[in-house]
Symmetry: C2
Subunit: 462 residues, 2 copies
Amino acid sequence: MTNVKSYIKEHKQRFLNELIELLKIPSISADSAYKNDVLKTADDIKISLEKAGCDHVEICQTKGYPIVYGEKIIDKNLPTVLVYGHYDVQPPDPLDLWHSPPFEPVIKKTEIHPEGAIFARGACDDKGQMYMHVKAMEFMTRTNQLPCNVKFMIEGEEEVGSPNLAIFVKENQEKLKNDVILISDTGMIAPDVPSITTGLRGLSYVEVEVTGPNRDLHSGLYGGAVANPINVLSKMIASLHDENNHITIPGFYDKVEELSKEERAKMAKAPFNLEDYKKALDINAVYGEAGYTTNERNSIRPTLDVNGIWGGYIGEGAKTVIASKAYAKISMRLVPHQDWEEITQLFKTHFESIAPAGVTVKVKPHHGGQGYVTPIDSIGYQAASKAYHDTFGKTPIPQRSGGSIPIVSLFEQELKSKTILMGFGLDSDAIHSPNEHFGIFNYLKGIETIPLFYKYFTELSK
Amino acid sequence: MTNVKSYIKEHKQRFLNELIELLKIPSISADSAYKNDVLKTADDIKISLEKAGCDHVEICQTKGYPIVYGEKIIDKNLPTVLVYGHYDVQPPDPLDLWHSPPFEPVIKKTEIHPEGAIFARGACDDKGQMYMHVKAMEFMTRTNQLPCNVKFMIEGEEEVGSPNLAIFVKENQEKLKNDVILISDTGMIAPDVPSITTGLRGLSYVEVEVTGPNRDLHSGLYGGAVANPINVLSKMIASLHDENNHITIPGFYDKVEELSKEERAKMAKAPFNLEDYKKALDINAVYGEAGYTTNERNSIRPTLDVNGIWGGYIGEGAKTVIASKAYAKISMRLVPHQDWEEITQLFKTHFESIAPAGVTVKVKPHHGGQGYVTPIDSIGYQAASKAYHDTFGKTPIPQRSGGSIPIVSLFEQELKSKTILMGFGLDSDAIHSPNEHFGIFNYLKGIETIPLFYKYFTELSK
């Protein structure tokens, strides 16, 4: 693949400007107030795919937000790469912790990004990483170096659990037929330590509601005499972990994949410094399941975390009230072999069973997805490995991610092909957090590495 | 005391209209957004006291909201009654549970209020009950039947713990000098079961903050590996009660007044139906400290309730985040002899001590007050008892209330006089809750009963 470096150098400023324009649109799929922004983003993606040389670019309607599809078929006998990404973003709150408005992108240098990083919601997850593929496509088509067929499928509901993508995939198996799926929605270990994600955690996300008395009560007249939904919810949540931080839901661990000593020893070799980790988060100690390291806890072990809790008076000052209701959003990260629907049911049954007399409990499943593991001896993995080696000068490290891309296991099931996760973000890029950013170095390295994946995948497929 | 009934009959509509106008002003002391409304309410109270015949009515400035003072001194040799009340109200949220806007008063009949009740925030607590005294004063002055001296002290910070009233009282001991203090800010057992509150619970109100990582984190990348402030806060709150619902804070019960078998037996005689109680709250069971009845749990026993909790993502949909911070507002109702400042310190010390590694905890005391008990053999209690007997045809039952009026114990300490709590509201009037209301029967009965208290107190003081 020739002159990819010079092409990037020549068009660098435009590549940055185009991404910045995309980041200005608050495409928050979780909040219906931003509906028009999400739809506008889909339109812009369509235009950018056309400009990058895709044919038959279309906005495919779903029951929710549309999926943008585009393709370039140059020869039916050549392999086909299906690129998946998403154009929606996480809600930006808490807004007061952002140093610049989440949808007014700014470029700032940081210790880990000496060449500068773009600060904006979605910069890394996933607009920035998705757009690397659009620009890599542009390079390959404009320089006539596209070695195989390409299909793009960019959705707008990933941050709310892709409720409609599954249906779309099931109904369009022929259209989406491919030899490998390529996704950049994960991270790499460090700017100088490329890595390929070989495992993802599954997810079960639920919302719980605890109802006590039929109205808010005066805590003086009723305090101590009726079940307080907030106290009760706290007690119920607390009981979901034992003193070793094992999850107490009966059957929760039954299908958990136990890694061998060898596999765990291999994992332990990945560069990791606990002191730096604590320093970066400003915590005096890590916390988690007894018997596992930090890297194991956030990758090969399942978790249960409260993502949000609310009830009673949360305004300024004081109000002496016993709330009628208390709520929590709870998510469980799952590991390969744990079935998310089964786990959701186990949670529901258990949570309802531990409700004390005096309250009623509702568990509302939000969404979920299965975990995933990809073998490192596949053609796809090998092609990605060679591509990284060319651009970073070293062989990438295979790593398990604690994150979830529920759709990946569905792809395998429905499209019968493996997914290669070429992530260029860093854990410190603060995705899902205030001040999310994406390094310019990482962005351009991605655009440089992706075409090489196409090249090697085509060669190795012969 | 002649023709009080006929006077009320004649002016009933005006008495209702004047109260309704007062209830239209959202005097929410807890929320600074309503500052001007609180101040306007003070002005209106001043005018109403003047119209009722008070002299030297003034708006006394404090560091917070002003105290409205007014008096009528007819003879230095006659006893003096000091009337205390408050013109501020609780925040009305949750607004969506109100059947009519909280500051647009409406009159509706209910099962327990066949003559109708005024629905509005503050209708019962305390604008309605405070205004009974203003109208009773009007009757006594207009009909030349005022038997003694009267002083009014109406404050605007009761719902936020009266932070400035204590200073005002300390600095104005001569001005506030009195023989008995009269307050209507409590309830009665039933429309046909008058009662006088002889005990109040103390209060300690705190806000806690649990901080984990220095920013919100992606629950996939960090879940299971760092302390989640919401999970931790839930665990800490849960640990504040043991399996018998005893509070676990060391030293918490050391000074709790233990009632004798006889006293508890006497209490148990007060009319109470557990099934009706559960039905009214729509709960299948009561809940509370083992070894005590419902009426004991909410009156003679101390409590710890979470009044509000928040953290993480509480918006629409789902967000897979580990929050940096989680918060709770916690209040403890205290019984006589428990010192609120000591209890606040015990809470702070204990709560900070149970914080696990990986988080930092802040405890911010909001406000508090001491509990109170008044003897039933005092002249004040006897005068009130006779007044109720005249208007209700039966002797009122002495009862302990679970609520708190922190200022009462301070009055005794600073002004050396006892407080008589003549409450005309009902527990079902939903004070501090959506759809707060006050029965027209109760309102008018209060106006009818109060002048008789003045009469009997003056007679018994001779």
